[in-house]
């Protein structure tokens, strides 16, 4: 009996690998975010946060995170479009598929994890109470190919505030 069970397991594993070999890359985005942005627009929600995101009227956002996003967008052949708003507005937009990415000095214990997925922490800073802040960006939930591409990019950077 055990032999049969392992046969099933190996068949499943083989099937998975076969699918992987047939041109579907794993992971794949259920909503196709990564495919959509390449050669097109990356919609980025921005909210001001010290040196991480600086917003000045009439100018593109500046600071650590906008710079990172510009470099990432270039790496996937996308053009960032900046949409300013409060964290609440941006989180709701992200949840409803109207944004691809949200930045604003967010940390990995952000309460918006109910609305969004997040990248791996890619930088660490210390707040004024001396507590460590692990910085993340917010992405749409379940867009795993897009997230993986962003994670790969961010983890290669040496970000020091």
């Amino acid at each position: 009996m055990a032999g049969k069970q392992y046969l099933h397991l190996s068949m499943l594993l083989g099937g998975t690998l076969a699918v992987a070999g047939c041109g579907i890359s794993i992971p794949t985005d259920p909503e196709g975010t990564l495919d959509r942005i390449s050669g097109a627009t990356l919609r980025v929600g921005v909210t001001g946060s010290g040196e991480w995101v600086q917003l000045d009227a009439g100018q593109d956002p500046a600071g650590i995170e906008p710079d990172l996003v510009r470099d990432f967008a270039e790496s996937v052949d996308a053009q960032p479009r900046w949409i300013p708003g409060s964290e609440h507005e941006l989180a709701e937009d992200l949840k409803n598929g109207e944004l691809d990415l949200v930045i604003g000095g967010l940390a990995d214990n952000t309460p918006w994890s109910t609305h969004a997925g997040m990248t791996r922490p890619y930088a660490e800073s210390t707040d004024k109470r001396g507590e460590a802040v692990r910085h993340v960006m917010l992405v749409p939930r379940g867009e795993n190919a897009f997230l993986l591409a962003l994670d790969r990019f961010l983890l290669e950077q040496k970000v020091t505030p």
Binding site: Q5, L9, T16, P27, D29, G117, T119, R120, G142, L148
Partner: protein, 342 residues
């Protein structure tokens, strides 16, 4: 009615369930069962730690992890119960401590039902609200890759060993007539399906089918809930003194018939019927005997009959014989319909 105490310093250390000394075969099975339960616990520590490390946002992985955590209960219940039931009956506990097995069984069953129901609702909400599970990158040995691969690997690594443990423990459960061990072995044997379901769920996320994950979680919760309900009904039936059943609850234990037949074949017995309750490992037997000619036999005959029954099976030790003028319907339901002897 009681056997003269045969306590010597040597036998006091022999493995026993209450005042039942275990025959060699059962003693060996008990030792092996304890060893394998410790191995199970060691494996569970490894697998829960491994799965926790790669848990991520997958609902199916969460369900599989909770099932792993719940799998700690039956081995712990078994190990605690086998310790407790070694104690001899005392004045305060004239029936011994056998029921500790039933209590442990009930507690484990309730935990399974509660967690199964919780996970079922949680996964159902996840499916209905179309929450897309988010799984990103992981860094390991200087490589950055998708965490989903690690999740699937963890599930496939932890799928195999419980099946083996379950098969070994199943055989021991039969020898020891231990229903907690049986429930544990049964859950272990089915554990590969949980692992496979979780791996399929994560693979589904991988190919962009977000719903594969909550669906896999639903399947796992249903299996936990099913285990819980089955164990709960078994545990309750045991504590309610239902008719003794075989170790896997598949059928009525044949011992009732064997004892009745043995007693009926004694030359001074006209009719005999027993009621038996399962105390966990050992049976409490009450046998009603109608002597031939309506006359009480000499006490030696009763004593001999009792010894004979005890020699039939190691599970029989706590036994009373009740000579009666006719089989009492109120204590032996169904006796009239069956016309006395079966």
């Amino acid at each position: 009615m009681s056997k003269p105490a045969q306590e010597t310093p040597d036998t006091r250390k022999a493995p026993r369930f209450g005042h039942t000394e275990l025959p060699d075969e059962q003693e060996k099975a008990l030792r092996r069962a304890k060893k394998f339960e410790w191995i199970t616990l060691a494996f569970l520590v490894f697998s829960t730690a491994l799965v926790f490390a790669v848990l991520g946002n997958s609902q199916a992985m969460k369900a599989a992890w909770i099932e792993d955590l719940l799998s700690f209960l039956p081995p712990i219940a078994f190990l605690v119960a086998t310790r407790v039931i070694q104690r001899r009956p005392s004045e305060a506990h004239p029936y011994g401590f056998h029921r500790s097995v039933g209590i442990a069984h009930l507690v484990a069953a309730v935990a399974l039902v509660v967690m199964g129901a919780y996970l079922l609702v949680d996964s159902g909400i996840g499916l209905l609200s179309a929450e897309h599970p988010t799984i990103g990158a992981v860094q390991l040995f200087g490589q950055t890759f998708w965490l989903g691969w690690l999740m699937m690997a963890a599930m496939l690594i932890t799928a195999g060993p419980p099946v083996y443990l379950g098969r070994v423990k199943m055989k021991l459960a039969e020898k020891l007539h231990d229903k907690v061990l049986y429930a544990d072995a049964d859950m272990n044997k089915a554990d590969w399906m949980t692992a496979l379901a979780a791996a399929v769920g994560v693979a589904g996320i991988g190919v962009g089918l977000w719903w594969a994950d909550p669906v896999a979680a639903l399947i796992i919760s249903l299996s936990i809930l099913r285990d819980g309900v089955r164990n709960l009904s078994g545990a309750v039936r045991g504590l309610m003194d239902a008719r003794a059943r075989t170790y896997d609850d598949a059928e009525a234990d044949p011992l009732t018939d064997i004892i009745d037949r043995y007693l009926q074949e004694l030359d001074w017995v006209a009719e005999a019927r027993s009621r038996i309750r399962d105390e966990g490992h050992v049976f409490h037997v009450e046998s009603f005997i109608v002597p031939k000619g309506g006359r009480l036999p000499p006490l030696e005959c009763l004593e001999e009959a009792r010894e004979g029954c005890i020699d039939l099976d190691w599970k029989v030790q706590d036994m009373v014989l009740i000579p009666v003028a006719e089989l009492p319907e109120e204590f032996l339901p169904g006796v009239a319909a069956a016309g006395g002897a079966r």
